[in-house]
């Protein structure tokens, strides 16, 4: 069952559940961060409305910088601003930032260790009809391989808002992964959030599998947990919104109980959350693991739900993976 102490949204499994895109939470978070700290500035590369940077622009026009279609310029200009003492957020689509400007982020932000916040919007398969060029599925791998970089992948708009506000104050280069589509709002203002701290969202007696998820597919994991419970299979679902640094303690503590893992993410299986969890467990607690994610493949045009179905990232796919990993664990 959903863990009541986390004060998650009510009725998340009902039809009229509230749905808001995570990028909206980012935009609202920018305004709060801007109110808290006058050093917060926002840069955007010709995608002001769709990254919801416009909310900040309207409130703080003199602290908003329009870069034009220039993601490399945006990352490096932001690096200079952060070096001076500002806290720049750079907003674009993940396919272009960090997709196009990775080396600039590596050298001038991460190696320089200046607190630029990189917001990669429209990440994942659910960009849908735009097709493979815009369906960024490699960004977590790109960013988590980089020393000094924090990687956060919020599960809903409320968490995205909290991640945005928290990252403004963390003093570190930080990547925030966002999505275009409306998704279920799982958490509330009262739900605890701390960068680097994973939370067990679904608990049950004698759980057999740890489902570790990040981003909006966390909701599919929760549906899967509910379905599995009906068939007598108990699981835990961990919201692992911070992929780097990984909350090793929470993950290991869950896996010690279950002895089996399914990771869930809208990202390439290679190098994403699943990879991060596997690296941790291989060293500390070798455990059978199944991976929900993109199997070394590019996406294509289609409706978001059609794509998630085609590439096996829905709750029923998670159910299959859970059953499979239980067989592996017991064999």
């Amino acid at each position: 069952m959903l863990r009541s102490s986390l004060k998650l949204a009510e009725k998340i499994f009902e039809k009229d559940v509230e749905q808001i895109p995570t990028r909206q939470g980012y935009g609202e978070g920018l305004v709060i961060a801007g109110e808290k700290d006058p050093n917060v500035v926002v840069l955007c590369a010709d995608l002001t409305e769709s990254t919801r940077s416009n909310l900040f622009k309207e409130k703080f026009p003199s602290r908003f910088v329009e870069m034009g279609v220039a993601e490399q310029g945006m990352a490096t200009v932001a690096a200079g601003m952060a070096n001076y003492g500002k806290i720049p957020f750079i907003s674009s689509y993940a396919a272009f930032s960090p997709g196009r400007n990775w080396e600039q982020i590596r050298t001038t932000i991460a190696l320089n260790d200046v607190p630029v916040k990189i917001a990669g919007a429209h990440a994942g398969l659910t960009v849908g009809p735009d097709g493979a060029t815009h369906q960024m599925l490699e960004d977590i791998a790109l960013m988590r391989a980089m020393p000094n970089m924090i990687v956060v992948y919020p599960c809903d708009s409320v968490e995205a808002k909290k991640a945005t506000v928290a990252s403004a104050a963390n003093g570190k280069p930080t990547y925030i992964r966002l999505a275009r589509e409306k998704t279920v709002v799982i958490t509330t203002e009262a739900t605890p959030f701390k960068i680097g701290k994973a939370d067990v969202f679904w608990i049950s007696k004698d759980p057999q599998v740890s489902i570790i998820a990040a981003g909006s597919l966390l909701f599919e994991a929760l549906i899967a947990a509910q379905e599995l419970e009906k068939t007598g299979i108990n699981v835990e679902v961990v919201n692992c919104h911070t992929i780097k640094p990984l909350d090793e303690r929470t993950i290991i503590s869950s896996v010690k109980k279950t002895g089996a893992v399914v990771t869930v993410e809208e990202h390439q299986i290679i190098g994403g959350l699943g990879g991060a969890v596997a690296e941790l467990l291989a060293k500390n607690l070798p455990t059978p693991q199944e991976f929900i994610g993109m199997p070394d493949h590019f996406g294509e045009s289609g409706e978001p739900d059609e794509l998630l179905r085609k590439y096996h990232m829905k709750s029923e796919d998670i159910v299959v993976a859970v059953k499979k990993v239980i067989v592996r664990k017991n064999s």
Binding site: T76, P88, Q104, T108
Partner: protein
């Protein structure tokens, strides 16, 4: 402490000698660019910049951003001669544990202002810095040294547009126009001319100088301070390898230190000796305390 023209020329020569010794000790690194930029770095550190070698993070200091990080030996030598750290530390260049990394890193050596090496990203950082400083009404200037070869990078031109859009008059860029890059001469590899017209078309103020003439270097940076309409680029024509006859103007010395086997050049064992001898006697090219 501002040195006069004569003193600056002598100091530049000392810095060239430092560069040769550092590179020989390191066994790798770039020779031509640092030698070619010795006059400009000397003018900056000993006359132009408002800075305090004993307080490298002094808030009101002028910021000097080096975009083409591979010529850092000249910056390290100028900083050491200016008193940022002991001259003897120059011999640690590129060695394990050294603050003098092969390409400069902000977090390792106070005063280098930023981390650079990958080309085309320095002007944007300087422009971002200048933009932020302008937001806060800061009085200091931001200087950015770029190479000519890195003008082949798209990132650089994104920054050129950005700096012009926001009229960053507190930013002065100095381009080391030495016409060489690793693979050959810039105009053969990927032509950059007409450079002056390009910058004018991008709404920058442009000043061209002889990058080995101390008076011209000082006058041009002074003039740039008085231009309030837009950022200024000083295109400094320099001779790569300046001061060492067998290196001058030859792209083969772009990425190599003295002590490298290059057909048609002096034997590698002799190169450092010849270079230092030339810098001390100079063949009349640069005056020296040893002349």
């Amino acid at each position: 402490m501002k040195l006069d023209i004569k003193e600056l020329e002598l100091k530049a020569n000392t810095i060239r000698e430092d560069i040769i010794k550092m590179l020989v000790e390191a066994g790798s690194g770039h020779a031509a660019g640092p030698l070619g930029m010795a006059d400009i770095f000397t003018a900056l550190y000993f006359h132009i910049l408002n800075h305090d070698p004993h307080n490298p993070m002094w808030e009101e200091r002028d910021r000097l951003m080096l975009s083409n990080g591979h010529i850092c030996p000249v910056r390290y030598a100028a900083m050491a001669e200016a008193g940022y750290f002991p001259v003897s530390e120059l011999m640690t260049l590129r060695k394990l544990g050294s603050r003098l990394q092969g390409h400069p890193e902000r977090l390792r050596l106070p005063g280098v202002e930023t981390t650079s090496g990958p080309l085309g990203s320095g002007l944007a950082q300087a422009a971002g810095y200048a933009y932020a400083a302008k937001m806060d009404g800061q009085k200091f200037r931001v200087y950015c040294i770029t190479s000519d070869g890195e003008h082949q990078e798209g990132n650089h031109w994104e920054a050129v547009m950005f700096a012009a859009k926001y009229n960053l008059s507190n930013l002065t860029m100095i381009v080391d126009r030495n016409n060489i890059q690793i693979d050959g001469y810039t105009e053969d590899i990927m032509p950059l001319e007409p450079m002056v017209e390009k910058y004018k078309a991008f709404n920058w103020s442009v000043i061209e100088i002889d990058g080995h003439n101390m008076q011209e270097i000082i006058d041009a940076t002074g003039k740039a301070k008085a231009i309030f309409e837009n950022p200024t680029v000083i295109i400094a024509h320099t001779i790569p390898g300046k001061g060492v006859d067998f290196m001058e103007g030859d792209y083969k010395w772009h990425g190599n230190p003295p002590g490298t086997n290059i057909p048609g050049e002096p034997p590698k064992e002799e190169q450092a000796k010849i270079a230092l001898h030339e810098l001390r006697t100079l063949g009349g090219k640069i005056r020296s305390e040893h002349e």
